[in-house]
């Protein structure tokens, strides 16, 4: 007796994987001659991470306790200006993106995009009818998904526009909102139909920790916790997240530094003939007619940036960590004429 396995890798969306930034493995193999160390600008992750101090031994050895999860959730609720009952902690925002399509039966889903591609992939895999909408106004549907600010364009939909969205479920992925004014977030005055996603690893430069949050009305939050199950977040993530999310001084200093570095990055890109289209304090989107050639030229200099299949003139740049990183980027962009 064999059971049919649902949605096997042979089905329409099964088995597809998406190209993401943040993995140097392949570009390293293609450019073994590149100068070391590689500079990875292919993500929007803060290059100067929150300091991971010594962790209590229990964080590693014991099952994560309800108490330590509640401490993390209290810190997140304070940081995001919402109620603890609305907060769901997950091992990364991606883990939430995986389970959101299970919250509703077969639905029409409009995703404002093109944007972070995992949203469309996960909703399609679950059998929903997914369309990509060019803007929020065109996105009337059962479910509307928007990345806000958008990745990679940085386009920001104001809360009042989000409140007007007539959808049964509105998913607002605020992965890159931490460093914008708090009023930009929908989290502190959440409409009943909305789920807000917040990322920890990007702003805090700790993407390896795997920590993210959903903010939703308490019954929806309970449903999400059920999908994730017990002990979803690791002990180290609980400890680090609780400390980091409570550290206002670090966040303020980080915002000042990243704002300045983003302006500096714009200046470098502009001076080298790229047009800055937008972004957030954690990444900049720029265009160049020979963007694909630039990607290769940068790789030969040991610098990895993000290209986009749907927009061949676009490049996304994360922030260099230091003056040396800015210098290497600026030098590498002085490409010979054959590339321009």
């Amino acid at each position: 007796m064999r059971l049919p396995i649902t949605g096997s890798p042979n089905s329409e969306t099964g088995g597809k994987t998406i190209a993401h930034g943040g993995d140097l493995g392949e570009v390293r193999r293609r450019h073994p001659e590149a100068p070391q160390p590689w500079i990875d600008l292919s993500t929007g992750i803060n290059p100067l991470p929150y300091p991971v101090g010594a962790l209590p031994a229990d964080a590693w050895s014991r099952l994560p306790s309800a108490e330590s999860e509640q401490a993390l959730i209290a810190a997140a609720a304070r940081r995001y200006r919402c109620d603890a009952a609305q907060v769901v902690a997950a091992p990364g925002t991606q883990a939430l993106i995986q389970v959101l399509p299970r919250l509703v039966a077969s639905a029409r889903v409009a995703i404002v995009g093109p944007t972070y591609a995992e949203h469309a992939l996960c909703w399609r895999r679950q059998g929903h009818d997914v369309a990509v909408a060019t803007d929020l106004a065109a996105a009337a549907s059962d479910v509307v998904v928007i990345v806000n600010p958008d990745n990679p364009t940085g386009r920001l939909a104001p809360p009042q526009a989000l409140r007007r969205v007539d959808a049964g479920l509105l998913i607002v992925d605020e992965a890159f909102i931490d460093l914008l004014p708090p009023e930009a977030s929908l989290a502190h005055d959440l409409p009943d139909n909305a789920i807000v996603l917040r990322s920890f690893g990007k702003t805090y430069g700790l993407a390896g920790v795997r920590l993210g949050f959903a903010i939703a009305a308490p019954p929806l939050a309970a449903r999400l916790r059920e999908e994730l199950g017990p002990w979803a977040v690791s002990g180290p993530a609980l400890a680090i997240g609780t400390t980091a999310l409570s550290d206002d001084a670090w966040l303020q200093a980080t915002k000042a530094r990243l704002d300045a570095d983003a302006a500096k990055l714009d200046a470098v890109l502009t001076s080298r003939g790229l047009k800055v289209l937008g972004g957030t304090p954690l990444f900049r989107l720029a265009s160049h007619s020979k963007a694909r050639d630039l990607v290769d030229a940068l790789a030969r200099h040991g610098i990895h940036v993000r290209a986009f299949a749907h927009q061949r003139t676009w490049l996304r740049f994360g922030l260099p960590a230091d003056a040396e990183g800015f210098r290497r980027l600026s030098d590498a962009l002085q490409v010979p004429q054959k590339v321009r």
Copy 2:
């Protein structure tokens, strides 16, 4: 417009939570007078963890790379004597238990039990028709789930009996098999219809790390990876898991120590009038006519053990970490006559 949310917390199984061992929060509140430090014997987690050395900064800061995930999977495949293509890494076995019920459409599910309660809860929540079977012979069904060795009884089904199971899908949860002879596991000669689950945190004493594995035929393994999504396992878990699973000497020494300590624990329990029913090298199951009173007596001595709603005379004891732990347990079990 509102969308109905599927399987809301008001449904039959929704919102239910299960009592687990490993969380001292509640017993601490009930017994504020208990001597410190608490000794938590309520789990089957090795009390002497694998040493977490210094981790590379990248493990925290960068998105987990495909390369580091492959290194972990290679180490796991070697440890479990199977092919890397069969191995799926997850943030804890529980994360896999959450997604297994999504692999098949509506099915009849037989769970050999009563056993670790999350299996039944997760299959029921997904709408499957779940029955608990008292033994493997009684478990003919579309899907059969067995914890092997069983938790808490330690009952072990031999591989040849598992191979005879006529089910479309056979889930063998080998969470506590690491310290038994390798031949006990189904992993190294996996039937096509089987998924084996292996836990990392119990044997290695690192339950907070959140790491577990599924071993399945490559198409099934691919389907499980799809359910978990990218970056499911944290950077620290990838680094620690790769090192620990490759360390044969530590595992051998640990097995010798835990075997000896389990025998010592049996002797203590027997000398105090409990009857040892079984177990694994990581926990012992014992019975006592006044088991519930013993739980309270132990709690007053700052010792937490696991009781069972379905078997009121049973108690499960994890292993004390050291001689002092054994001494405190032995003393605490010298309960006054009113309790006996």
